[in-house]
């Protein structure tokens, strides 16, 4: 038997096609049928305009695209041996902005996209978690909107600011601004302690064993109990291979395949559009079924995202959960909520490292408009995982722009050799509700996937 289901309440929409055998999903396919053509739109534009365009690839992870664009453009200077200087202050302000956006996204994802479905397995009354009316749902929204103010202080607004520019950042915060940002982050800490985990941030950050699961209270406990009741610690397992491309204060880059962490070689990343629709109608033969491309590293599929980062960056609590429950829905969601705690803590410390006397912006000596031919690339850890941008410029204009989003790693189609990450995870689900939860555990952003 085959079923076709529309999956809403993600960023955008996806079509989930499942084959069933013995009351279990025996095969799954995910189609993304929306295409906006950003890579094409960017052709022939002036390179700096990409700073305005790419954040608009996605309304929730615009800062990741902005940072990727600015760093890819700066990489162009490096590649033509034109030294450009970025102050440590600017680097910090960029990372802080990105981190805050990720925290905002993690809060929304857990409460708006994950919790309602998990609770629905158990009861029709979502109570305090009910969208638009439940007390906790509203508190989560409020916390996210207060937290994001910390980014608006340096970015002018959120969403869709382009405050990062080639040479640094456009803003120049005062000490009071920085204190204000710390205060907004404190609202996120309070929420994490009072409602998300029910333990102090300090205690939470010291968790390092399976037994610590018992210390959880509030929503993480509720989530955990429902996961065990409905076997979400068993469902949702994929290839158990992880990749994280970019480094930061908190994250290490690397990949894990049979417990080995290797150095990343970006040239081993390969995109394929074998199953992806083409702009040229004649090429759209029957095996093409989605607008998402597929991406592999060294010819293998890897999962990217908070779980990959937790394991590669050696965060103890999640590593312990992973030992017992592999890459299940439970571990994947826990990794993301766990990352929220680490990010809030880390971002507060980054803010305190800013030296206000440094320059925010140092103008590059030559303009990108005057560069005849060059390329640049960059990698960034976005909320959903690794983001890759590559820009080719010719005669001062963008010749080609390639974006590989985290969702392409996780949600792209299979190749001949093996199933894609999310597809493999969905196989084995006992009903469509669980299959959708598995799919959602990757945080599906259909707009990013196809861009």
């Amino acid at each position: 038997m085959k079923t076709v289901d529309l999956v809403e309440r993600i960023e955008g929409e996806a079509k989930l096609i499942c084959s069933w055998k013995n009351n279990k999903v025996s095969d799954a396919r995910i189609d993304f049928l929306n295409f906006r053509g950003f890579e094409y739109i960017l052709e022939e534009k002036s390179p700096l305009d990409a700073l305005i365009y790419t954040p608009r690839i996605c309304g929730i992870c615009g800062q990741a695209h902005l940072k990727a664009t600015v760093e890819a453009l700066e990489n162009i200077y490096e590649n033509i041996n034109e030294k450009i200087e970025i102050s440590n202050k600017a680097k910090l302000l960029r990372q802080i902005g990105l981190n805050i956006e990720i925290i905002d996204s993690h809060i929304k994802w857990f409460y708006l996209f994950i919790m309602p479905d998990i609770i629905k397995l158990n009861s029709s009354d979502l109570g305090i978690y009910a969208p638009l009316k439940g007390k906790r749902w509203l508190e989560a929204c409020k916390t996210a909107s207060e937290t994001i103010k910390a980014l608006a202080i340096i970015g002018g607004q959120w969403p869709h600011t382009s405050y990062m520019n080639v040479g640094g950042v456009m803003s120049d915060p005062t000490r009071m601004d920085l204190i204000n940002m710390q205060n907004y982050l404190q609202i996120a800490i309070d929420f994490f302690e009072d409602s998300v985990s029910g333990v102090s941030l300090e205690d939470y950050l010291s968790f390092d064993s399976l037994n610590d699961l018992e210390k959880l209270d509030k929503d993480m406990k509720y989530f955990k109990d429902l996961c065990f009741k409905y076997h979400l610690n068993v469902y949702g397992k994929s290839h158990n291979r992880f990749i994280s491309l970019a480094e930061s204060n908190l994250f290490r880059s690397g990949k894990i395949k049979q417990k080995i962490v290797n150095k990343i070689d970006l040239s081993k990343i390969a995109e394929s559009n074998e199953y992806t629709f083409s702009l040229n109608e004649k090429e759209n033969i029957s095996k093409k079924h989605t607008w998402s491309k597929l991406v592999t590293y060294n010819d293998n599929f890897f999962e990217t995202g908070p779980l990959a980062r937790a394991i590669i960056s050696n965060r103890r609590f999640i590593k312990e959960l992973h030992k017992s429950f592999d890459d299940s829905v439970f571990t994947r969601v826990m990794a993301r909520v766990d990352e929220m705690a680490f990010l809030i803590n880390d971002t507060k410390s980054l803010i305190s490292q800013i030296d206000l006397l440094e320059n925010s912006f140092i103008k590059p000596k030559i303009s990108l408009n005057d560069i005849e031919k060059a390329s640049g690339l960059s990698v960034v850890e976005a909320c959903r995982g690794s983001l890759y941008h590559k820009i080719d410029i010719e005669n001062g204009k963008i010749k080609a722009y390639d974006v590989i989003t985290p969702t392409v790693w996780n949600l792209g189609p299979s190749n001949k050799k093996e199933k894609g990450i999310a597809q493999k995870a969905i196989i084995g689900s006992p009903n469509i509700e669980i299959a959708k939860i598995v799919l959602r555990s990757f945080d599906v952003c259909s707009v990013c996937t196809t861009h």
């Binding site: 969208p131 996210a144 002018g156």
Partner: protein
């Protein structure tokens, strides 16, 4: 409150969901007030009780239809709920009293209309059949902006709820929100007046002369109704890119086009000659205070 609350349906067409996240980043008391006064029955990413299909099949009227994103009839590039965004929109419009374009894509096509390989991406006004437009109780309201300011949505909805109509400018935008320029209220106005140029990464100076600030030519209230309750792009140091106007996105948004050192485009409503002479005069005054750093 015995009165039946007006219903609100949010339809997401070709978009990045930025307007949704703008709404979720609104002042939370205002957001809750909005939820108390309106019956927000459908949003593809937020609500859970009804699907888009339920809304379309349901006989009930929609009071306020909010649309985020551009529209296209081309199903090759864009299908949502197994249909084109244009077909779904037409079905929804027939049941709706008010139609509000949320953001620049829904208003004018915005960034997605730049994808020329799909040649019929457009805003609501151009997408809807005339006969369906006539069924509406009010001309289409364009809340342009990339994204729209959440407070602009609330103010529009509350005024329509209370007064049934709202006065619009030539581009279909509420006059009260778009009557003044984005420049109005910028903390850099003094520098603008005395023609003192700014740089990226500085608190001082105006971004009109070199960084491409479009605020003197852009209708919006970004510097009066602050973003996230606290700030605006130009206050922080990012030039206005004119995202509420029909011609957004333009080319070379982060630099000012100039002719012999003078900005090619001058503030709205001023003749170029007048602007030139006043600039010349202003520049002769050396105001010490404004040439210094605000703080060391």
């Amino acid at each position: 409150m015995n009165e039946k609350k007006p219903t609100v349906v949010w339809f997401s067409a070709i978009t990045c969901n930025g307007n949704t996240h703008s709404l979720l980043s609104s002042n939370s008391s205002k957001f809750e007030l909005f939820l108390k006064n309106f019956d927000f029955i459908y949003h593809g990413s937020l609500t859970i009780d009804k699907s888009l299909e339920d809304i379309i099949k349901n006989q009930e009227q929609i009071d306020f239809l909010l649309v985020e994103g551009a529209i296209s009839s081309n199903q090759k590039f864009f299908t949502t709920s197994n249909d084109s965004t244009k077909n779904i929109l037409e079905k929804l419009v027939q049941k709706s009293k008010y139609l509000i374009a949320v953001g620049s894509c829904a208003s004018f096509g915005g960034i997605h209309a730049k994808f020329t390989q799909n040649d019929d991406v457009c805003g609501l006004k151009d997408a809807i059949e005339e006969e369906n437009k006539k069924k509406l109780k009010h001309p289409i309201i364009n809340l342009s902006g990339c994204p729209v300011h959440p407070e602009w949505i609330f103010q529009t909805l509350f005024s329509l709820k209370n007064f049934k109509e709202i006065s619009l400018d030539d581009e279909g935008r509420p006059k009260e929100l778009y009557g003044t320029l984005a420049h109005h209220g910028c903390t850099r106005n003094e520098y603008f007046e005395w023609k003192i140029e700014g740089n990226f990464g500085q608190k001082e100076g105006c971004l009109f002369y070199n960084q491409g600030c479009r605020a003197p030519m852009t209708h919006s209230s970004c510097n009066k109704i602050l973003w996230n309750d606290i700030n605006s792009k130009t206050r922080a140091g990012m030039p206005c890119i004119g995202c509420t106007e029909v011609d957004f996105p333009r080319n070379n948004m982060l630099e000012t086009k100039k002719n012999m050192g003078i900005p090619l485009e001058v503030p709205l409503g001023i003749s170029k000659r007048a602007y030139l002479s006043i600039s010349g005069v202003a520049k002769t005054f050396k105001i010490d205070r404004l040439h210094k750093k605000l703080m060391e």
